[in-house]
């Protein structure tokens, strides 16, 4: 499933002409990487990674969760910034179709 979504996102990145769709495809790709990292830390029937007095079942790896929180924040910043730049691009009278955009 991961590979299928990655392939779809890469295809969308290249094949869609609209900038917003390209940004969405990049967001999809990033989400898949984040999910894959979280999957690495997953333990079947694992408990929350809180030390001291918890249940005796094995804990899930907390490191991917902590790291991916940071990656998610970076991803949100990227999406917000991309949206802002695209809005400004449109407001400046330029097309949002990649095939119609060229350097100033």
């Amino acid at each position: 499933m991961t590979l299928l979504i990655v392939a779809l996102a890469v295809w969308g990145l290249v094949a869609s002409d609209h900038l917003i769709r390209k940004v969405m495809c990049l967001a999809m790709l990033e989400s898949m990487v984040i999910l894959e990292f979280l999957r690495l830390g997953m333990v079947e029937d694992g408990s929350a990674p809180i030390l001291g007095g918890g249940p005796s079942s094995p804990m899930v790896d907390p490191l991917p969760q902590a790291l991916m929180l940071t990656a998610i924040v970076i991803g949100v910043c990227f999406n917000a910034l991309a949206a802002a730049l695209i809005v400004r691009l449109r407001a400046s009278g330029r097309s949002l179709r990649a095939s119609e955009l060229h350097d100033d």
Binding site: L26, E30, R94, D104
Partner: protein
């Protein structure tokens, strides 16, 4: 905490604290202290850089500093292998002290402080995730700085390529962690012991990340667009630090691990891509009519050279080359602010033109420039590599010489040419120890080729004046095609490094 460890910790924090102070002053007292915040932070960082360099010089062990005593704590580090990276950051930093006015709005100067924090953090990152976070801080600020003069398309293009590179880097980090090696720099022993296919995927994703983020062929168009779009202060950082961090990242995360584990794929792939990165932009510089684009193209040629040196296992030479180039390129971009370009005519004061000519010569890497001697390992690798490097250098030199350099006493004049006069001997001193006697015959051959090139440049100018071949290519290319090329680069690397099995 030792004094040196405190310097490593303070290095990325200084601009961020300065940004916080300037922002507080703006919100609470309605005073714009951003210019002084940038200047103060730059001076403080230069002092810290000198202190850190002095601490690791002479074979001293690297400085390492864990933020907390917990296992897997965030680590900051600085060693002799990062001196080139630090020099490539310090050169544009020193120049931005006097020219921060180019960023007209206080908000942009605050962003420059964040950009500086990101760059400094990348210099001292002790683990791969920390490096990723600081790199992202740096690029996020850079996207907005590039858009500052309402050049939103250049910023959007940079952002799309930057995000694609970041995703590859993050995926590589996932694989490093998945091998059980932690996130240390360089990779731990568990990664070395991981199955070969796991290592290859890691190397492929890391290589793709840096090839895209550092403007290797065919993803170099964003760098050229951004250089033209933004002010010289930002262009200087992009030209100097982007090249250096790309070469350093490739060495730390791709080349050194590949050599350690005996994986030949990444080195072959890097050689092929770097060779193209030298040749394609050199042709662009040769035929381009916009001076700033020529300067940007010469940066890409140097990035390719750095990649080739890395692929030959000469990391030290590659870092010295990009650091020396960073100094020259930072000066060159600031000098272009004092020159006016009208088609193929470049007008400036006599002192500015002289400094521009010296920097352009150094940027091309043609003998007897100091950058020529830094390419010695490539010439030693064989005649084909020597010919490739000489051809690219001569194409870049001809690309600069095709402009008509005209003295204009009315052009704006600054003290920057004198700064060049002070800086260039330092650049010359850098490769002094590599200027072995064996390089002199090659220098003679190149000097003869140079005379022919000078004559060819004059003919090229006549041919180019009514034509615009590069402009036609620019108009034919669009973001779809450029992103397709990036995906093809990624797929090519996958086939080359991972294999089809």
């Amino acid at each position: 905490m030792t004094t040196e460890a405190a310097a490593v910790l303070a290095f990325p924090l200084v601009p961020l604290l300065a940004a916080a102070a300037a922002l507080s002053a703006q919100v609470l007292a309605r005073r714009d202290w951003t210019k002084w915040a940038v200047r103060w932070a730059a001076v403080a960082q230069l002092g810290l850089a000198v202190a850190m360099a002095a601490a690791v010089a002479g074979g001293a062990p690297p400085l390492r500093f864990a933020v907390s005593a917990m296992p897997l704590s965030i680590e900051l580090a600085f060693g002799a292998d990062r001196l080139g990276l630090c020099a490539a950051y310090a050169a544009p930093l020193a120049l931005c002290i006097g020219r921060v006015d180019q960023l007209a709005k206080p908000a942009l100067r605050l962003l420059l402080l964040f950009y500086m924090g990101g760059c400094a953090g990348a210099v001292v990152a002790g683990d791969v995730f920390n490096f990723f976070v600081f790199y992202e801080v740096m690029t996020m600020a850079a996207y907005v700085l590039v858009a500052a003069r309402e050049r939103y398309y250049a910023a959007t293009k940079y952002m799309l390529f930057g995000a694609a590179g970041s995703i590859c880097l993050l995926a590589g980090i996932v694989l490093v962690h998945g091998s059980g090696a932690g996130l240390s720099l360089p990779y731990g022993d568990a990664w070395t012991a991981a199955p070969s296919v796991h290592r290859r995927w890691t190397l492929h994703l890391m290589a793709a990340a840096f090839l895209i983020k550092s403007a290797f062929f065919p993803c170099f168009t964003w760098l050229v667009s951004c250089h033209v779009a933004t002010v010289p202060v930002v262009s200087a950082f992009l030209a100097s630090f982007t090249a250096a961090v790309g070469v350093w990242g490739l060495e730390m995360l791709v080349v050194a691990p590949a050599i350690r584990t005996g994986e030949p794929g990444p080195l072959g792939w890097l050689t092929a891509v770097s060779a193209m990165t030298m040749i394609a932009p050199a042709v662009v510089v040769l035929l381009e009519k916009n001076f700033k684009r020529c300067v940007a193209g010469s940066t890409v040629v140097t990035i390719g050279l750095g990649g080739l040196l890395l692929a030959r296992g000469r990391a030290g030479a590659a870092m010295t080359l990009v650091a020396a180039h960073g100094v020259v390129k930072a000066l060159l971009f600031h000098l272009t602010a004092d020159a006016g370009a009208d088609g193929l005519i470049l007008r400036a004061r006599r002192s500015t033109l002289a400094a521009l000519a010296a920097c352009a010569w150094m940027a091309s890497g043609v003998a007897p420039a100091a950058t020529f001697f830094l390419k010695a390992p490539l010439r030693e690798a064989g005649d084909a590599w020597a010919a490739l490097s000489t051809t690219a250098a001569l194409a870049v030199a001809a690309g600069f010489w095709k402009f008509r350099w005209r003295v204009d006493p009315e052009a704006p004049g600054t003290a920057l040419p004198w700064a060049c006069a002070l800086a260039l001997p330092a650049v010359v001193a850098l490769p002094a120890r590599t200027a072995a006697a064996g390089a002199l015959p090659a220098a003679l051959v190149e000097a003869i080729a140079l005379s022919v090139t000078a004559l060819a440049a004059a003919r090229l100018r006549q041919w180019l004046e009514p034509r615009d071949p590069v402009g036609r290519v620019h108009r034919a290319l669009n973001l779809n095609v450029e992103l397709l090329l990036a995906v093809l680069l990624w797929l090519g690397g996958m086939i080359w490094i991972v294999g089809l099995r």
